[in-house]
């Protein structure tokens, strides 16, 4: 029996600085590694700790294991020191995927807040790779400021591939020409055919709640809205207890949930 809590060593192939506090690591995936959009890995720094990070690369290129990480504390700070050629210690993949196939024949809308764009990116790749399957692809991305934007150049490429991309910032800095304000403000323009829209939301819980409410107001069915939740996570395999949210173990039953399954739980303080 192999132990689910012992990591594998992978080789870092490339490190890209995405913004002042966020970077992407590409590593060589182990032979036979496969994942679905929305799944995450546990990234380990020996002697320091471990944290849950979503896979941000394309599921069609499973040989390249890509993570986009925002530095917020000890483990992420150590991870940000890794360079090409270093070893990266990984367990996974874990968790439930974005149900991209639900958007087949429909419109797909992705709503991202901050680092929330990283876990959504694989779904975007998957949808754009099969343009005939998903009717229209739209992305609403909200960042704190222009300095916090992620994947700026790639967003242009998504546009070129046919996606409608809206970007807004909370705070405008000099030179910012785009919209200012919360990401929900972008939604009326991006939702073209509400009854045939499937939406994936990833970002702070409060943002997802407001976005879900706005989508409902626009006529998108709650059953067609999916969110991803975050809790303290130690094991990733449903045995440490930490990531509970009411009836769910987020690592096992999530992190991607159909919104109606969690909407009530998300409104209860300190659940």
């Amino acid at each position: 029996m192999t132990h689910p809590l012992v990591p594998h060593a992978l080789r870092v192939l490339r490190r890209t600085q995405e913004s002042h506090d966020t970077f992407t690591l590409e590593a060589e995936a182990p032979e036979g590694f496969a994942f679905s959009a929305g799944q995450f890995n546990m990234l380990h720094v020996p002697g320091v700790g471990e944290c849950a990070i979503s896979i941000s690369g394309s599921p069609r290129r499973p040989g390249r294991l890509v993570h986009t990480i925002r530095v917020v504390g000890e483990v992420t700070r150590h991870l940000s020191a890794l360079r090409s050629g270093d070893e990266l210690y990984v367990r996974g993949p874990f968790g439930s995927p974005w149900p991209v196939e639900r958007a087949h024949g429909q419109d797909l809308l992705l709503v991202a807040g901050g680092i929330g764009l990283a876990p959504l990116r694989p779904a975007l790749y998957a949808a754009l790779a099969r343009p005939k399957r998903v009717r229209r692809v739209a992305l609403a991305f909200g960042a704190r400021s222009a300095d916090d934007l992620l994947f700026a150049r790639e967003l242009e490429r998504f546009r070129a591939q046919g996606a409608t991309v809206g970007v807004t910032v909370d705070r405008a800095t000099e030179g910012w020409q785009g919209p200012v304000g919360v990401v929900t403000k972008l939604l009326p323009e991006l939702v073209v055919d509400p009854p045939s829209t499937v939406a994936f939301l990833c970002g702070p819980e409060i943002m997802m709640r407001f976005a879900a409410r706005e989508l409902e107001r626009l006529g998108v069915a709650a059953e067609d809205v999916w969110v991803t939740l975050e809790r303290n996570m130690k094991c990733g395999v449903g045995t440490c207890g930490h990531c509970q949210l009411g009836p769910y173990l987020i690592c096992r039953d999530g992190p991607v949930f159909r919104y109606p399954r969690v909407s009530r739980l998300m409104t209860i303080r300190e659940l």
């Binding site: 132990h3 809590l5 050629g85 070893e87 395999v237 930490h242 509970q244 659940l271």
Partner: protein, 380 residues
Amino acid sequence: MSSIRTLSPPFVLPRARLDDLFERLRARGYRVIGPRVRDGVIVLDTVKSSADLPVGYTDEHAPGRYRLRRRNDDAVFGFVVGPDSFKRTFLVPVQRLFRARRDGDRVRFSPEPVDTSKVALVGARGCDLAAIETQDEILAEGAHADPFYVARREAAFIVAVSCSESRSSCFCTSFGTGPRPTRGFDLSLTELLDGPHRFLVEIGSAEALEIATELGLSTASEQDQGAAAGIALRTSRGMERQLDTQGLREMLLSRLEHPHWQDVGSRCLACTNCTAVCPTCFCVDIVDKSSLDGESHERTRQHDSCFSADYSAVHGHPVRNDVAARYRQWLTHKLATWIDQFGRSGCVGCGRCITWCPAAIDLTREVARLRDDVSLETDP
């Protein structure tokens, strides 16, 4: 009452030959762990012979209170459960998972070997067996079975004991987990004090049958069997505490915002005693440490508690900052959401959390309050 899963008709073991049973277990390579008195408390530890057991002792339980007393007989198992449970044997409090060593620019991981040493657990009660089954579900049968747990579990021989008396904190009958062990044991003893001091021996595994045969035990008479059944019946009937499990999950989930959580939260000290003594609580922390020179590392897994603030920390702040939220998490997990997560109750009715809560918080009473049972308002 559910039928008992046994492999043969029961035998009878004279009290004087209890040590022969321990001897047989040791001869088969088992270290015997059982109840013994230490610092005024019955704990679980290695026992060499029946003289190490709390012979002639009994225990008094009340919310926040525990006391050992002498009995006026020589009963070997005349007490119920102490603060320890066999959880410590299978899900050990601190388990090293791997060691890692730096080797140039690489790190080499050496997974910790599993412990396959044989242990015989003596004195597991019905509630304890149900607790083991509950943890098996999570740690031995899930998609990611835990090899440390599984190895220890497979190396264990369980000698259960049927309870002859209950204590005020016991409520196993509310969950049907006791007082008589019905499954999950190798061998089960019912102590018979009428007439010659002896035990009714029920057989739950092939190995137990071998041992009974090696010991040359005689088959129990109908009278002995009747006596054991009578004891179990008396014990169930005498159980005072009850938890109304009817619609319990739905009741709790519909009252997640009930003001009573604040009330209990103001009494709870967040000391983590209840989760430490609970035989089903399985939450663990994963801790990575480094040697001073940074050359070697190790990862351990340690018992953790949903009552500690760090437990739920995300982005620098605990999700459950308020103690009321932590108590709600614990209680609703035990009695409601455990069912969603693992298909059964997370409480087996052992009463440990009631006895060992320094604030004398009693979950059965909190549940009754949440049900708005006015009959409780008149209680002192």
